[in-house]
Amino acid sequence: MGGTVQQRSVVRVGASLIVASLALTACGSRSNNDNGGSTGSTTKTAKIGVIAPLSGDLSALGLGIQHSVELAVKQANDSNAIPGWKLEVDAKDDEGKTDPGKNAATSLAGDPAVIGVVGTLNTSVAQQVQPVLAPKNIVQVSPANTGPGLTQGAQWQSDPKRPYATYFRTCTTDAVQGPFAARYLYETAKITKVATIHDKKAYGQGLVGTFTEEFKKLGGQVVSAQTINPDDANFQAVVSAIKPSAPQALYYGGEYPKAGPLSQQMKAAGLNIPLMGGDGIFDPKYIQLGGKTSDGDLATSVGAPVEALDSAKKFVADYNAAGYKEPYAAYGGYSFDAANSIINALKVSLKDAKDVESARKATVDAMASVSFDGVTGKVAFDQYGDTTSKVLTVYKVAAGKWATVETKDFATK
């Protein structure tokens, strides 16, 4: 009896495996036919790379970037935006670290079919990626790098100079974001004494730097300036260090995996002041890690809230309809716009090109004149490759959710 039971199940398993594999191959061949048939002639393939953290602490943001680019490319293919060409997404994981980021860039640069790259998330990773992509004339558009030096050089405050002509971004920079937060705290929230903490990474350090400068200029006082290690999980020491100086708010430069626990531990230690951060902490995961006491914490983020704009509603609906497992997260809108800016440039550069490599230079040139209405507002680039839009928003945690406080166009004083 045992034998028959076993035999029958072997047959069933085997049969279902065969059916499954048939179904898979059938799927594959059909979709190939579709693509071939729709254009009628031979289609050439161009790849848009993605470099973002697809694993690790920041993967929630990175996967949002990847899927948003996939959505943009899928829509371009469906509408046959570039006749004769089919676009593909090639996503590489940088783990939010410089070395894997550099490897990802090298492997994309070695692929003759890659025409552009969306990424990275971290400014520090972009610093490694830029010099790899630039010599090959591969255009790079970042949805999330906010380090001012990437577009305007190391001396961006005194002597702005564009280091790489291939680099663009759809988000505003720390040169705007830090001061924007400083003005909100000093002018709107009437806070005069703050403490600052950053995680010693390029993003956090830059944010705290520009914040401090503007806050002092306005007349405020930075009573304590501390740092934490990127691998810390216990922040008691640093909280005890800033507590005696009695700040009214804490400005944090860094991302949500550290900011959430920091907020929680700060309040558990009896320091009941709001924590404010940049776009790196503007994520639902921040509230999850910060717990109930994170109510009242603040964040600035680039652009207007994605849900509020009319142009964004279609993106949100399309994204949800596409059924990706992960949400579009903080940079979904910017990634979608970044991918579309490349696609818009390709409409010009790929039209008469015979292969991808010969069209790369023309794509970079075409980026300068890209201008369209994107998810996050008007998408266009200035002479440095920065977005021309300077709109930012302040968000506040209320009842376990990020709520919009104010959206403003940042004006240089």
């Binding site: 009896m1 045992g2 034998g3 039971v5 076993q6 199940s9 072997v10 069933r12 398993v13 279902s16 694993s55 690790g56 602490d57 993967s59 929630a60 010693k200 501390q226 740092t227 934490i228 290690n229 691998d231 810390d232 999980a233 216990n234 922040f235 008691q236 020491a237 640093v238 005890s240 260090a241 507590k243 005696p244 995996p257 959430g260 626990p261 929680q264 531990q265 558990a268 230690a269 009896g270 995961k285 999850q288 890690l289 717990g291 109930k292």
Partner: protein, 438 residues
């Protein structure tokens, strides 16, 4: 002055955590002269055990009576891991050169980290882990029914083959049936057990006849049947638990930090004494260390098993001649360390409000430092070493001025202290100078 007391409280909290983990290093070292470098992972698994218990049974609740259950869950996970680790990674290497267990320890440590990370991302893999445990448990059960001493040094692999074959084949029958029909139904359940029994016993007997002859096979019939039935029953039980409980929980991804549950009384608003704030979780940690230290002292000095441990740590060979089961004492030492590490895991979760699969590494390294600081092999020394280390770390972040001060240098001081102690007092703060036997 307030600042001084504040840092003292912070330091003692941190130190209690280190001390709880350090005891695990020291107990094991005292008995087998082995540094269990995977002990940091036992601590990490304790924290994940507590979190899993919470997610399985109490998701969304915050009342304080959950905490003891979480601690029991943490202990079960930690002790299970430590005992299993001892059995598969250290016991076979008992008489090997000292370098061998060290290398296994590092391997085990990486394995455990990746195991937790993958298990949380793909809970379905729990079934594979269950299959492994079932094989092991069924084999142990079957071994009890044999008259052949399977643990004897002269036992060959082929002596164990019939029992192993029986469980493997019973497991294969189970797997095939469940691949075809995943839902729990009484018919399939019975078929898996009965089919496993028949196929497993047949395979086991075949092996027995093949390798040892017919007489031996007759004597092995009962244990083989027991093993085959046990495999089927345990696997079905595991599958029931998986289907009804584990598969219904939404597991957070372990790629990122996982928030640790908030429990009334031990987390929440801090207690203020003057200008010194004491977190509730800090009180819990210090209290836990005090209770554990007292119980440990009682266990080591007043119970039979504890005195057995002392005897083995002084001279294992003579202890064995006196009728002490050294193997059992070693398992107890591992388990004891794991119990304390589990409590430390829960404490750290409550303090930091988040855990991740890498948390064992640095904590383990610091606790090892604490154990060496106090004099490795000396339990009081581990507690003192942990507390000293915590206080030094907290004070250094506060009082070292300028460029080298502040939170970012805090990990440096532990190791500076370690080097100083090794140079000037190599036996540790409370350790006695011993002649190295090796």
């Amino acid at each position: 002055m307030d600042q001084f007391f504040q840092q003292l409280v912070n330091g003692l909290t941190l130190g209690s955590l280190y001390a709880l983990i350090a005891v695990g290093y020291t107990v094991v070292y005292g008995i087998v002269q082995l540094i269990n470098f995977a002990h940091g992972e036992v601590f990490m698994i304790g924290a994940f055990g507590a979190l899993s218990t919470y997610l399985l049974f109490f998701d969304g609740h915050t009342s304080v009576w959950i905490l003891p259950v979480m601690i029991v869950g943490a202990m079960a996970a930690s002790v299970g891991t430590a005992v299993l680790m001892e059995r598969v990674a250290y016991r076979p290497l008992r008489n090997a050169p000292r370098l061998a267990p060290l290398i296994t320890a590092i391997g085990i440590s990486v394995f455990l980290q990746e195991f937790i990370r993958l298990l949380y991302d793909r809970p379905g893999w729990a079934v594979l882990a269950m299959a492994g445990l079932t094989l092991f448990a069924a084999y142990l059960l079957g071994a009890r029914f044999t008259k052949v001493p399977l643990d004897h040094p002269i036992t060959k692999w082929r002596d164990r083959a019939p029992l192993l074959a029986a469980t493997v084949f019973a497991l294969a029958v189970w797997a095939l049936l469940r691949l075809a029909e995943r839902d729990l139904s009484i018919v399939i359940t019975l078929a898996a057990i009965v089919g496993g029994l028949i196929v497993g016993t047949a395979a086991g007997l075949l092996f027995a006849v093949g390798v040892t002859g017919t007489d031996r096979a007759k004597a092995l019939l009962q244990p083989i049947a027991v093993v085959a039935v046990a495999t089927g029953v345990l696997m079905e039980l595991g599958w029931l638990i998986f289907k009804e409980i584990i598969a219904k929980v939404e597991w957070p991804s372990a790629k990122q930090l996982i928030p640790f549950p908030q429990i009334d009384v031990v987390t929440g608003k801090a207690i203020e004494i003057g200008n010194v704030t004491i977190q509730r979780s800090a009180v819990f940690t210090i209290f836990a260390l005090a209770v554990c230290a007292a119980l440990l002292w009682f266990f080591i000095n007043r119970t039979r098993l504890g005195r057995g441990m002392q005897a083995v740590s002084q001279d294992p060979d003579t202890a064995r001649l006196m009728g002490i089961n050294v193997d059992r004492i070693i398992v107890v030492a591992f388990a004891l360390g794991a119990v304390l590490a589990a409590i430390a895991g829960v404490s750290q979760g409550l303090q930091n409000n988040n855990i991740d699969f890498r948390m064992g590494f640095l904590a383990g390294l610091k606790a090892f430092t604490a154990a060496v600081l106090g004099g490795i092999g000396n339990i009081q020394g581990a507690v003192v070493g942990g507390l000293v280390l915590g206080v030094v770390e907290a004070m250094a972040t506060q009082y070292v001025p300028g460029q080298f001060g502040g939170g970012s240098w805090k990990d440096v001081w532990a190791f500076v202290l370690l080097i100083l102690v090794l140079v000037f007092r190599p036996q540790g703060l409370l350790g006695a100078r011993v002649v190295d036997r090796a």
